[in-house]
Amino acid sequence: MDKLRTDAKICGMGHSMKRKEDPRFIRGKGNYVDDIQLPGMLYMDIVRSPYAHARIKKIDTEAALKIPGVLAVIDGPTLEKYKLHWMPTISGDTQMVLPIDEVMYVAQEVCAVIATERYIAADGADAVEVDYEPLPVMMDPLKSIAPGAPVLRKDKKDKKDNIAFHWEAGDRAATDRALAASDVVAEQHVYLPRLHVASMETCGCVADFNSAEGKLTVYMTTQAPHAVRTVFALVAGHVGLSEERIRIVSPDIGGGFGGKVPVYPGYVIAVAATVVIGKPVKWIEDRMENLQADSFARDYHMKVSLGAQKDGTMTALRIKTIADHGYTNASANPMKYPAGLFSICTGSYTLKNAFCEVDAVYTHKPPGGVAYRCSFRVTEAVHAIERVTDVLAQKLGMDPAELRMKNFIQPGQFPYKSALGWEYDSGNYPAALKKAMAIVDYEKLRKEQKERRARGELMGIGVCSFTEIVGAGPSKDFDILGIKMFDSAEIRVHPTGKAIARFGTKSQGQGHETTYAQIVAEELGIPASDVQVEEGDTDTAPYGLGTYASRSTPTSGAAAALAARKIRAKAKTIAAHLLECSEADLDWVPGKFFIKGVPDKFKTIQETAFAAYTNLPQGMEPGMEATHYYDPPNLTFPFGSYICVVDIDRGTGEVKVRRFVAVDDCGNIINPMIVDGQIHGGLAQGIGPALYEEIGYDEEGNVFGGSFLDYYVPTALECPNWETDKTTTPSPHHPFGAKGVGESATVGAPPPLANAVVDALSHLGVTHIDIPITPEKVWQLLKKAGVAE
């Protein structure tokens, strides 16, 4: 949809409307959770384990409790009294809130100090003496999965191994046969290390129990406030918390990226503290707690095999994965998909045979498995297929772009049923790759590379053509703890023609206050500036599963359009009444109904709204509002082709990203400025993992990357001038043809960077490098090849 249907005043879809949320943010008037200050509020600080595995012999709180202002220390036995010392994870596993006897990872919550002031709470945490007996530590998932390994989850009755789950998709036997019959098989171990979302705001909450009303309000950094309310009601129902007396408020969120989907122990302890003490309790993680204890993603060890004929025609794909989930399976995945949507791994290619399997393993790492800006393990899947495609190209001596072109699912094949069971809604992969190649001038770059290589310079070109799968999801397959993954919109039009719209999702920077208003504007012709958007307060917003997995536009966005259409239908009846004609005589342009052929005989949407409260057709229910719960018929499949150019310093091994071209297709666009911004940010979160970011551990379970001293989030100096462009292939099943877009670039950016570095070093015999591609890794390869300067 490149043609605008509304003018700049209405500002419907396709307008780069300036954001409605900006005025408060640029004035420092945002309202983030740590900005909330309630009368009598107390502060909580958490004592964390320095051991990856240890028995707690004693927690001595005496010195802490002597500090003036320290009111209480809450430990496992305190919570055990209320049966709140364990909680379920979103994936249906279990997790300690606070331990009774053993700690299972470094930085695990051991106890919490409640005090009158922030600094005093920290003093109290410092003064708690915990006596530990260190126990053997298991940090290697390959050892943990081996037969005879000591069982880590002794809390689980009858558990005989360390496997959290096994999951598979596709036809194993047929794939094995097809691989055996292939002329060439590219095989590659690909490791995606543990990452951290590192949103600029950490996690935290203010829990406020009003004992007079018996009502609990929790202001918290959550991407899914409604689901959290239900989980709290289910988990804490036995202590009297009933869902109508729980209010979750998700205020302004300083970035989420999936890290703010799970419920972490800190939230639960704060809730327990406010209920017991009867005063509001604030808990805010500091950065080191955040980087060491929660919000971890990836950690996939993949063995990828891609078969092909001599001419490059792909025949079969097999991926065997060992997934390190740490202490518990705390993934935020739909229940039926414990390995998320990993089975999108056949990517953009016609592959008749495919099989993938995932063995999820427990170790003594903190709980992992957050879907970091990716629709449930799609980043892992895309990295596997896009990396191994280049390995295959290298093996065949084919150009990687040519190999992709040869194997693309063609535009005429959509809707396309993949070998692993997905029905891709729409796509035009050759168009996106051709466009990216034209922008970057691919042929010229290859020539330049040849010339530079002759001079001993290291330059690489990396290609990636990814297919995303977002917008979870259809209720027949998608639920979290049984709750179906629909989402919602509720629109009320006021008598003067202005509106308020509320949603089950929750923006964390995506700009919903603007884009949702534009959807309503597009459908009703009410100017977007007249539509107030609200999310995040479970007392007022309709129920929904929240914002992650690029699902807001595919679900709540669709709900907004359909709720608006219900209102438009009512407005039409009213307009016919006001114009004294039949509804069949009316035509619609955004903002007004007019009598067919008589454009000056019309009623505006605002006039019909006023009449809905003042001058109704006989028998009509007053008011002008509608709610819609949208259950998507399918997921949406955005895609794109990215090409980047890197130069490598032979002295330091440093990879410099010279150019990065991203051609994205997310169907019809609501706000091009915001989509571009989403792509830019996603690209930065692709370059980070590709080149810099990793949460690593030593054998004792100590973390590397536990502060911003050594978790390298890219700065402005590492990021190039992103070159973005688009193609437009609308989703055939979405009400206005849109697809999700927030995560495309995070998913699509690491493979071309890895491919570019390998490409730069391919003449030295390099076929693969695991991310992050640090200067040290590159320099070691250069040294080995004898070309380091």
Partner: protein, 157 residues
């Protein structure tokens, strides 16, 4: 713990406070003066979301003690708008979509407003260097660079 009486000019207004020696400037600003536009994002002076101007110089207020600000002037994001008129960088950030979640924005605005005070027309590289102590996880920085160029143009033609 010893308390100290300090006087600080905050966004042009004289303020006094009695503070512990260990109180960080960022907590003086946020919790004593209740100016919550200045945020806290790390413990190690890396992220820059707490950036304020101390006597005109950008500092990370999580790494300055409140007592060190005694007798100084502190400028925070709340003071950028003057007489109902937004500062050029504030306008530019909206115009160029240089913010998303908004958490790093106050620090970015303080760093870049100070940059434009000392350098009327910074090059792209100079802008990138100036904001390299301010992390942003949302924007990928390009639109922030464009916003600073736009603001420079507006301020100094």
């Amino acid at each position: 713990m010893a308390k100290h009486k300090i006087s600080v000019t905050v966004n042009g207004a004289a303020r006094e406070a009695e503070v512990e020696s260990r109180l960080l400037l960022v907590h003086l600003i946020r919790e004593v003066f209740r100016l919550t536009g200045t945020h806290v994002g790390c413990d190690t002076s890396h992220c820059g979301v707490c950036t304020v101007l101390l006597d005109g110089q950008p500092v990370k207020s999580c790494t300055v003690l409140a007592v060190q600000a005694d007798g100084c002037s502190v400028a925070t994001v709340e003071g950028l708008e003057q007489g109902g008129k937004l500062h050029a960088v504030q306008e530019a950030f909206t115009e160029k979509h240089a913010l998303q979640c908004g958490f790093c924005t106050p620090g970015m605005l303080m760093t870049t407003s100070a940059l434009l005070e000392r350098n009327k027309s910074p090059s792209e590289q100079q802008i990138r260097e100036a904001i390299s102590g301010n992390l942003c996880r949302c924007t990928g920085y390009l639109n922030i660079v464009k916003a600073v160029q736009y603001a420079a143009e507006k301020m100094h033609g």
